[in-house]
Structure formats: structure tokens, C-alpha cells
Amino acid sequence: MSASPDTALFGEESTEAHPGIEPSVSSDASENDIERCSHITSVFADPSAKAGIIDKFKTVVAWYARRTHDSLHPAKRRKVSSPTCDTCNQTLSRPFVCLHCSFAGCWSDGHITNHLKETGHTFCTDAKSGSVFCSECEDFVFDDTIDELYLSTVISVEEQRTKFQVAKRGREPYQPWIPTGDESTTLKYIPTVPCQGRRGLLNLGQTCFLNVILQSFIHNPLLRNYFLSDRHNSRLCKHSDCTCCEMDNLFTEIYSPTNTPFGPTSFLATTWKVSAEMSGYAQQDAHEFFITALNQIHGTSRGNTNISCNCIIHQTFAGQFQSDVTCEKCGTVTSTIDPMLDISLELRSKSGETATDNTLASCLRRYTKPEKLGAREYSCSKCTKASHEAVKRLSIRTLPPVLSFQFKRFEHKTSGKAAPQKIDAPIRIPVSINMAPYTTLAMNATGKDGEAGYPGPDAMYEYDLFAVINHEGQMDNGHYTNFARFQDEWYRFDDEKVTPSTLSDCLASNAYMCFYVKRHLDYKPYMKPTYLVARENDIVREQAMEREKEAARMKEVDDALMAMVGGD
């Protein structure tokens, strides 16, 4: 039974919203999964029935994604397509659509489920989340094919709606990796490694600061993928005291079948050799070590540069701040752009008091609030008179794939009285955060009626928490522990002790540092790294030289022969 896309319901835009991304090979894995809904299995066994369901699903998901984007980021004021329930005629705010016919209905009053029962149609989907409901199982069912399809459809719609600020090109469409015939054969015989890094790290003497940062690296999806795909092979690297090699070794150890705690002795030793200020067994600040480690990894990466570096650290953590200073007298705005690897947030306002209801969002608002500069702090280049009042505002110009936040809990009192105080004020951090309100683009676009006119899509600004670092005790004698997420489960890491934990324990733990990863990544078109291009040119040149030498030698031999023959 096939279903035809209902253009009247879903609008005239092409239903081929995505350049035919086929579900990848791995979706076949779910066929052997006994938990899989048997009804989906039987429908998918018939190719034409499967195609019907899949096409309808794609159409519905793409339609809803476009519609949401258009109402949140209106290019112009126009009516949003609003289907009504086929049972009660009310406008649908959360449409559920039958995957076998053109019926759409309400979930909360059971209109869609009644339709399924009455017509014997099996599946319907929630247009927003792509969740598929099976009326036989009487529950929502999970299927790898459907999940991948949802993701690829939504991403494709987003890609088409992303407007670049600088370059005129459209956004690079995501291309899943499809193994070639040879690669598939090789993959069949390769032993698999469990892709989970839940391994404790031994404390080598006040090194908990090192352990928590290493755990945040281990559970960082971009760093993990880079080192697990052998991008810096420590056996081929010729440098000594190479922190990248240490990272490679660390990942090898963590993702090995051994479960017992691992002691990162050589990582520690290399860190000491490269950064003398980090050496010694005294307690160090985890954030200082974080920055030191990032710089060391950047410094030992192949092909790193001082400006616009493409190393794994910059690709993962590098963003940009923009600082706009507006002269109150003449209105000139001077903008400065600065690179950043992480964001350090104050817990106290300028007056010195700690707010009572601190959240990550409130800290970010404080960070990007316009600030009056005193008359002596600024002189406008346009105005002839010096020292005017000016307003400075910070915003985030470029968001990195991984956002690292540090809450400034250690304050050095300038009054010179007591020892530096630790600020234990509780901070609430969310599981996900939308960074749009703090970006330069969105800040400049907000105007009329507080409507955010930034072009979106929202997914480019959504970040998910994956690690939290905690500090207990005072400044000098404290202990670092951390939480990290593996897939959907949270774990607590206390040096060598790793225990299952819950989301609420993690969120209630009062963070010192926390790490978020962007939900949907965006890509540049693939470009060969410059050092590879250089090496290839070298090889070509060497081969040409060889040929010349060979030709010259042959000529010598010929000449000698000719001389012999001629001499007779």
C-alpha cells in the first residue's frame, strides 16, 4: 500500500528536500534486534510498502521543519501552513500524521489513534519529533532506519536555510561515509573495539586536576573521534615530548578492553617537561592545566599555524569574541575581534554581590550586557574631543563546536587581606542551551518588538552538556571530581572510581567547569591539508628529477657507444 505525498496539505515546495541520502549500511543491524517492532519489520520487508512509508515520513518531517523555521525566522510576514484535524477540525498545533493516508489529527484527544484503529492503518508519526507510533504495539517504536531518516531530513532542511554571514556559497551538505567495496571487505575482518571510555584514572599525587581534564578530553566527541581514527599515530611521530602522542596513547589505553584504572604517568611527565610552571606535586588549578594542555596539543599538531590554525584543538574549541564600543557622543562603533578557546564567567556582578538565582544563561547575559566605560577609559577616534563616555558590549561572533565554560570561583582579593576566597555560590546549568541570544548576529538583529530576526536555523545554536568538573573544599586543599555522559547515561569519576550516576546528581553538583557540544555540526568542503599538498608536490618533483637523471645516464651510454663505433 503506497501513499502519495499530499501536496495540498504539505505545500508546493519540493518534497525532494534532500539530495537522496540513503540510509547507510548500519541500519540493517536493527533487523536482528528482537526488540524491534515486528510490524515495522514486516512492512519494511516489502520494498514498495517500505518506500511508501519512508516517502511519507520524509515529506511530513521536512514540511514541519521548514514550517517551524519559517515562523521563528520569518523572511517576510506570511501565513504559516496550518492543517486542521480531520476529526474535530481544530487547527493542529502538534500534528500527528498517518503514514498510510492523508489523515492528520490530534494526539491528546485520541483522534489519530482512533483513525488508525478504524482504518486498520498501522503507523502514524509526530511531525515535530519524527516519533513513530504503532497501533498494533500501542506504543511508540524505535527503528534505526527511521531515526537516521529523521536526522538526515532535518539536517538537509537546515542546510538549505542557513545563510552565511561572509562567504556567498551555500552550506556544504552533509555526506555520510559509505564504505567502498574494498573498505567493506577490510571492515569484515577487523576486530571491533568497544567504543566506551569508562575507565578510572589513578591519582599520582595531587593530580586530580589532571584527571578531570583528561576525562573531559576522553568524553569529548570531536577529540575522541580524531584520536581514535589514528590522526596522530604516536608510533610514526618523530618528535619527543609530544603531547599529541600522549593524547594518542591515552585514547589507546582508555578504549582498550582493560577496565582497571590507568595511571597517566607519561602524560604528566611530558606536561612537566614542556610547561615548567605546571611541574611539582602541588595542587594545580584544573582550568590552568586545561589551557596549558590545549596549547601543548596545538603546538605539537601536524600543520599547526599561528593564525587561522586548523589543528584539532582549534577546530574543536576555537571561537571568536566581538567587542563593540559605541561612542556616546558621535555614535561611532569600533569593533574588535578576539580569538577564544573557552569562556570564563563571573559569578558576581560589578558591585560585588552574588546573584541569588544564578544560571548559565544569567551569567551569559551578564557577560554580554552593555557596560559603560568611564570617561577616562576611552577616547573616540572620530570625535575631536578626547575622553567621552562610551558603551562597550561583548558578544560571541563565532561559536566553536565545543563550548567550554569556567565559572570564576577562585577570586584573588586585591585588598591584600585574607587568602583568596572560593565562591561556592550554586549555579544551575541546563542539559541543553541555545546560544543564539549571546551571538553578535542575533544581538544586532534583535529590534522591533524584541523579535529575534537572526536567520537561524536554531539547531546551529543548540548545545548539549557532556561533561562537568567539580571542585570541593578550599582553594589550597580541595579535590576535583567530574561527571561525564556516555551516550545517554551519566557517570561520576573520582580519580580511579567510576560510578553510574544520574542527570540530576550531575546538575546539582555545582559546576566549576562544564562542556557543551554542538548538536548539529556544519562542514567546510573537503580541502587537502597544505602539508599533504606540499609533500605530493615534492614526490612529483623527485620523480621528475629521477627521470631526468635516468635520461642523462642513457644519453651518456649512447654517446659512449657512438664514440666506440665512430672510432673504428
Partner: protein
């Protein structure tokens, strides 16, 4: 009695339709989502749903929804309720003025 309730119902359906068609529904929902997330309401529900479903047999979305619905409705922070109600009131007012 029944006449005024059906009048109120007709009114509700009309305002509801206009709100969705103008895209205002999505915009208000977006604001509601971000306020609820900042207050920790969303994460609390996520945590409860996860912990409830750990020992649930048979696992079903309907059961999870039933167990959480009343808590979800009552635990919405008052300030969020007030702010969103204001936005909705504003929209309804504008519709009457047109």
C-alpha cells in the same frame, strides 16, 4: 449556561487558529521552552522520566506520560506562567482590536 460555554469555545478555536496561522504560537512556544529550560523544569522532567523508565515493565510512553503529567503541570514556575500568560493576553488583545 451552555450558550456562553459554546461561545467561549468558538472564541477559543478562532484565537487558537489565528495564533497558529500567524506563527505566534511557535514564537511563544519557543520562548516558553527556553524559560522552562533555564528554570530547570525540562531537565527535572527528563531525569524523572529516565529514572521511572529504568524499572518500568512493560515500558510504554503512555505510562511515562501518565506518571509525569500532573507533576509537570504543577511544577511550572510561577514567574514563567506569568510571563507567558502576559504574551498570550497581549496577542488576544491585539486580535480583538483588529
Amino acid at each position: 449556561m451552555s450558550k456562553s460555554t459554546s461561545e467561549a469555545e468558538t472564541l477559543y478555536v478562532e484565537v487558537h487558529r489565528r495564533m497558529i496561522e500567524s506563527g505566534e504560537w511557535d514564537r511563544i512556544l519557543h520562548q516558553l521552552s527556553s524559560k522552562l529550560s533555564e528554570s530547570g523544569w525540562t531537565d527535572d522532567l527528563l531525569h524523572r522520566a529516565k529514572e521511572n523508565s529504568r524499572s518500568m515493565d512493560p515500558l510504554s510512553l503512555q505510562t511515562i506520560l501518565q506518571e509525569l503529567l500532573s507533576h509537570a503541570q504543577t511544577s511550572v514556575p510561577l514567574s514563567v506562567k506569568r510571563e507567558i500568560t502576559t504574551l498570550i493576553k497581549q496577542f488576544v488583545k491585539e486580535q480583538f482590536e483588529k
